[in-house]
């Protein structure tokens, strides 16, 4: 303070000097007046003295009021300033040098005051901040304590000891999910080791910070929802997030954030558990890509299909259809609906029923030879199933016009060719027979006779083949007309057996009919066709039986007549049994080993077509290599309803 004092002008000196001048002035003035009045007659000298004294006094007064007083005021104000009173200013400034000094002083004080206020403000802010920080740290510690105790309480009521806490921490540190505990403001109070593995940050690095450090990449809506759930509703939030590791790498995680609430229901903080699912996500993405790729491929394949393709959902939406489908319907639509398609095909196909049956009963519906706008189609309506659950209905339209034309011309060719072959073959056979009839005795050379016999046999065999072909093509075209009638099956069997017997049998083979014990009902079928089948079965049995017996029997079975033809012949191996009843299949499978002397292999196939055409069934009952075979077929019996014809 002493230093400060010495820098100012010692105001008392100035004051005293002025005071002294004033006192002298007034003194001389008073003396002059006294002299003047004491000496009655004013002298010129006395008047001059008085005049000077007055002038001097006036001058002194002027000094006193216009210079000394403002200076004194200023000194006072300066002193007040010096003592810290920054609001004071020099008032009633005059327009002279003193006034300029006062103004300058005021400006100086203004500047001084401003910096002073700023300084003071800063000081108080700093102090407040410091206080806040202290508070916060204190609060954090408090919260952490609360959180810890809350967690401990949640986990184990008895585990209040540090040991439990340590164990708990150990457990948290060893989990691969990263666990973060924050206060209510989201500042991290605790983070386990896994946080480093997932985010790349060390736990110490992130304490006191916000998890936004690695998050914050989702949209605003996501975070709003998150905060609303955990803070307002005080419920756990589960979601999938896209976060960023310390090194900038993006990762995907499933996150569960739960509020920590004390017994009074007050929010203490949050626990966030995050699991890195990037790999899973990548895998899933790959899978999705693959699915997309496959779908594209599949769609391309479907588009390339020659069939019209439409897929319906169980709720009746059209999921997908290809261009061909529209082409076939002859109409393009921006939005096909199931109703529109049903309506379009109304006159030729009941798509509605087919769709419902597919959906409800998982039945597949197929209709061929549907004529629609000048073409012939095959329609297929089938359920699409996924582990026994119907997930859709597939509808296919196949244009079979060309195929049908081809088939027709093939069948016609078959038929015409067979007819054209038969006449010359009949002529060959007839002529050779006639040679033997007319000139048999004249053929002396045995070789010539044998050659003629071979020609005859060849023609016989060829006629047989051509007959089979013709029968087959007619049966397959459904052109066989069955003239059904009532007849006694037993009689027909006996007749057939007698024909074979009169033609002569192999010496060691017996052909017999085992008559049933009871009288059986009449059969209702085409007698000539049944004879054909009997001839075929008995013929086959005799062909392959070299010793033993061929026996024919009839029984009543399930309301049908069942005819069995059993032999003691070569038998058929199991694998070859499956080939029977099919086109051109002899029981010996290979093309090279087939026995062409024993027919075309069409016999059983034609028999099957005939028997099935009459509502019966034909099958192999048993067969064993070396022991023989049994074939059977059924025929419907004549009853009240059918016998009236």
């Amino acid at each position: 303070m002493k230093n400060t004092k010495s820098t100012y002008i010692p105001h008392s000196l100035l004051f005293k000097a002025i005071a002294r001048i004033v006192v002298v002035g007034y003194g001389s003035l008073a003396l002059s007046i006294f002299v003047l009045f004491t000496f009655d007659a004013p002298t010129a000298a006395g008047l001059i003295v008085i005049g000077f004294s007055f002038l001097f006094l006036t001058l002194l007064l002027f000094f006193h009021f216009s210079i000394i007083t403002p200076l004194r005021k200023m000194i006072l104000i300066m002193n007040r300033c010096r003592l810290g009173e920054m609001s004071v200013r020099v008032q009633n400034l005059t327009h002279d040098e003193i006034g300029v000094v006062g103004e300058t002083f005021n400006t100086l004080v203004d500047a001084l005051e401003t910096s002073h206020i700023t300084l003071e403000k800063e000081m108080s802010t700093r102090a407040k901040e410091l206080e806040n920080r202290m508070n916060r740290v204190q609060q954090s510690n408090l919260e952490l304590d609360k959180v810890q105790s809350a967690i401990i309480n949640i986990l184990d009521d008895e585990a209040h000891s540090n040991e439990s806490l340590r164990k708990f921490q150990l457990a948290l540190d060893n989990t691969s999910d990263h666990v973060v505990i924050t206060n209510t403001d989201g500042e991290i109070l605790y983070a386990n080791k896994a946080v480093t593995k997932i985010t790349g940050f060390q736990p110490e690095e992130i304490l006191g910070k916000n998890p936004r450090l690695w998050g914050g990449l989702m949209d605003l809506e996501f975070y709003q929802k998150l905060w609303h759930t955990i803070k307002t509703e005080k419920k756990s939030f589960v979601g999938e997030v896209r976060n960023k590791r310390k090194n900038g790498e993006i990762y995907f995680a499933t996150t569960t954030i739960s509020p920590i609430v004390d017994s009074q229901g007050d929010l203490l903080g949050f626990v966030g558990v995050e699991r890195d699912v990037t790999e899973m996500k990548n895998y899933q993405q790959n899978l999705e890509n693959l699915v997309t790729q496959r779908t594209t491929e599949l769609k391309a394949s479907i588009e390339a299909m020659t069939k019209g393709y439409a897929l319906f959902s169980p709720t009746g939406e059209v999921v997908f259809y290809n261009q061909k489908f529209e082409d076939f319907l002859g109409e393009s639509h921006t939005q096909w609906t199931l109703e529109k398609i049903i309506g379009k095909l109304e006159n030729v196909y009941d798509l509605k029923s087919a769709y419902l049956n597919s959906l409800q009963h998982t039945t597949r519906d197929q209709k061929i030879d549907i004529e629609y706008s000048g073409r012939i189609y095959k329609f297929t309506c089938s359920p699409v199933q996924d582990e026994s659950k119907t997930i859709g209905v597939l509808f296919l339209m196949e244009d079979i016009t060309e195929r049908r034309i081809m088939e027709r011309s093939r069948d016609e060719f078959f038929s015409i060719a067979s007819h054209e072959l038969r006449t010359p073959l009949t002529a060959i056979r007839g002529n050779v027979s006639l040679i033997f009839d007319m000139f048999g005795e004249e053929i002396k050379i045995p070789e010539v006779k044998e050659m003629l016999q071979d020609i005859h046999e060849s023609s016989v065999r060829l006629i047989g083949i051509v007959n089979d072909f013709l029968n087959l093509s007619r049966a397959e075209m459904g052109k066989i007309e069955y003239k059904k009638q009532e007849f006694q099956l037993g009689e027909l069997i006996i007749e057939t057996i007698q024909e074979y017997q009169s033609a002569g049998l192999t010496p060691n083979v017996v052909l017999e009919y085992i008559e049933p014990q009871t009288l059986l009902p009449s059969a209702y079928a085409d007698k000539d066709k049944v004879r054909e089948v009997l001839v075929n079965l008995i013929g086959n049995a005799l062909k392959f039986t070299h010793q033993g017996a061929v026996t024919v029997s009839v029984v009543l079975s399930d309301g049908n007549l069942q005819v069995s033809v059993a032999d003691t012949g070569t038998g058929i191996s199991l694998e070859n049994q499956n080939l029977l009843f099919h086109k051109f299949q002899q029981a010996t499978s290979s093309l090279y080993t087939r026995d062409t002397t024993k027919g075309t292999g069409l016999g059983l196939y034609i028999s099957r077509l005939i028997i099935e055409g009459m509502g019966g069934r034909i099958w192999i009952v048993r067969s064993e290599v070396g022991k023989g075979s049994t074939f059977a077929f059924t025929l419907p019996i004549a009853n009240q309803g059918t016998s009236g014809v």
Binding site: T423, S433, I463
Partner: protein
């Protein structure tokens, strides 16, 4: 001598039948179609007629109709020759008054000769049977 008329367009078959019946000591007359057959009948009446169904100019069924419509010829027994596919035609022919039909490819010459003999031995038909449906 028994006189047989064979009406058949295919020379192979015609000659075959001709030989069969010549061998069997018949007097054989042949015609290539129905028209020619009718002309042959005008000249000399046969005991029996073997007639193919599918022929150009006049087919077997038309020929049969004409024959049965004429009181002079309707008593002559007619056996129809047919192929496997022509079975329904053969049945129509039976309804029109044919006595039998023979599927050509199914029989040996001797069997055909026997069938004709059987028909001749048995009967000759005067009336056209009514068709039952």
């Amino acid at each position: 001598m028994t006189k047989i008329l064979i009406v058949e367009d295919d020379p192979l078959m015609r000659r075959l039948y001709q030989k069969i019946f010549t061998f069997e000591k018949y007097e054989v007359e042949t015609a290539e179609n129905g028209e020619e057959g009718l002309e042959k009948i005008k000249k000399s009446r046969p005991t029996i007629i073997l007639c193919d169904i599918m022929m150009p100019k006049m087919n077997g069924l038309e020929f049969l109709d004409k024959l049965k419509a004429d009181p002079d010829t309707k008593k002559i027994p007619v056996i129809m020759l047919t192929n496997l596919a022509g079975q329904s035609d053969a049945e129509t022919a039976m309804a029109k008054g044919a006595v039998k039909y023979i599927v050509k490819s199914e029989y040996e010459p001797k069997q055909i000769a026997n069938m004709v003999k059987g028909v001749l031995a048995g009967y000759t038909r005067d009336t056209v049977p009514t068709v039952h449906e």
